[in-house]
Symmetry: C2
Subunit: 292 residues, 2 copies
């Protein structure tokens, strides 16, 4: 299911956020929705290549054609014509709460938006995951826009709608749209700093020589997304009852712990480290008084 919302479309300007789309996946549980989610994950692996392709080939799989269409409608990726902002809405089986995902540590606009949403929801935590990494960054559907923002809310099983998760997602998007509205009205946002969790490594399940999984997430780690893990802390429990512990001098903050869709990606969780991101002040240089 894809929901598109255009918000505050006014005079076009590079400093003016005029277009927003939101991609909602698996809002309604059904086999189709589940299927679409999986297809979508496939898409994300291929987007970068697809978005660099000008030619449209016939007889290509649905998901590839759909990716090209998305790029055509909301991109092209990297061009001036691309949409300004995409909220890409996901849910996860991991206990990540309401998480924002950033792709670029130097994007003042999205950092300011995260700062605004975090303040609006305080004291409820809104973790921010920064997936900027030379090897681990993946091409996302939302990356066709100039300012992509991922929203990842959990825990929610695949194929299930939970009222609390849906409400949390709505609330985050509402505050995000409020931010866009204020920006478009000409409000100035002073410099700000936010704490983010930067992705450092993906951790696979322990496997035997036949590449079979031999351990599951340790109960002490289950549901403990964003909590510190230090040397010696348990990560996995083998089916024979053996504990496999974290080894490393640095404190890490695992997340995406036990996400259903990532078993096939050989990813039990990702480790992050805490850092701060700073944004310059921002203010729209063009204010359309017709909309204020």
């Amino acid at each position: 299911m894809v929901l598109m919302v255009k918000a505050n479309i006014t005079e076009r300007n590079r400093c003016h956020i005029y277009s927003v789309i939101m991609v909602i996946l698996t809002l309604m549980p059904s086999h189709l929705a589940f299927h679409l989610t999986i297809l979508w994950l496939d898409i994300t692996c291929k987007l970068d290549r697809l978005f660099n392709t000008q030619t449209v080939v016939e007889d290509i799989p649905y998901e590839v054609r759909r990716a090209q269409e998305i790029n055509h409608i909301f991109g092209p990726k990297g061009s001036d014509d691309a949409y300004d902002l995409i909220f890409d809405l996901h849910n996860t089986t991991a206990n990540m709460g309401g998480t924002l995902i950033l792709e670029n540590s130097r994007d003042d606009f999205t950092i300011q938006m995260c700062h605004y949403i975090k303040n609006a929801l305080a004291p409820e935590p809104v973790p921010v995951l920064l997936i900027e990494h030379p090897n681990l960054k993946y091409a996302t559907t939302r990356s066709v826009a100039k300012h992509p923002v991922g929203v990842e809310v959990g825990p929610q099983p695949q194929g299930v709608v939970r009222a609390d998760i849906l409400d949390k997602m709505r609330t985050i998007v509402k505050h995000g749209l409020d931010f866009v509205h204020l920006f478009n009205e000409g409000k100035e946002f002073p410099p700000c700093t936010i704490e983010v969790y930067k992705i450092m490594e993906k951790v696979d399940y322990p496997r035997n020589k036949n590449d079979e999984v031999i351990a599951i997430i340790h109960p002490n780690l289950q549901d403990q997304d964003w909590q510190p893990v230090n040397n010696g802390d348990p990560l996995f429990l083998t089916l024979d009852g053996e504990v496999i512990a974290h080894q490393g001098d640095c404190t890490v903050y695992p997340t995406f712990i036990n996400e259903a869709a990532y078993y096939e990606k050989k990813q039990a969780f990702v480790n992050t480290v805490k850092m701060e991101l700073t944004a310059e002040h921002i203010r729209s240089s063009v204010v359309d008084h017709n909309t204020s």
Copy 2:
């Protein structure tokens, strides 16, 4: 994945539990396992008919052939040759805890086993769901055995293994096998009474004229399996924010609330009522002293 365990195989006698199989579904998360789960649900709809069919037809779907094989190996259903006991292990996205499912209110052996398991795990609750109902009873894989016992543990998302859920399932099965062992050793179990939740009705999601779902489980009901619901208590929340409440003079105890696999079955939850089941004393009439 099918795991077969034969426990305490001694001299055959109708009063002697000599054979146990356990069917474990979706123990390891993978697309195949998910697929198998769905197939299994399909199977359960067809088992009764299949189990009454003597002829094996070629070119039939895998799941139908598999059902016939299960009936051939562990049945035939309803015959003296059928296995004595099957534990049928499932997990659910509903917050049902560790639940036992009975099919027959007059089966002293399984009632005694539930009584034993409940006592062994007290004070942790082990709800017992009785699916004996003229219209709502469904043919289960386990029903090929003389004494079928369902074990339903949740909440666990599809495609995910949680250590706590796996441990709870292991513990329940362990106590069940202990009970079998004691029975086979000749222990007498005096008359007992257990509280069960008897299935009364299946409740669908509210729908519009086009048969589309228009409401989700109300947050006050989510995760509240086995808790009393009275007239006026909220059941659903429409996407417009309207609350749909329970109407009825009797207290009901919903369960299987928001089970992912049941959206397609048009089942948001099932309502149950509390009742008591009583079992006569049981004692194996044949004790093989070689095993004691």
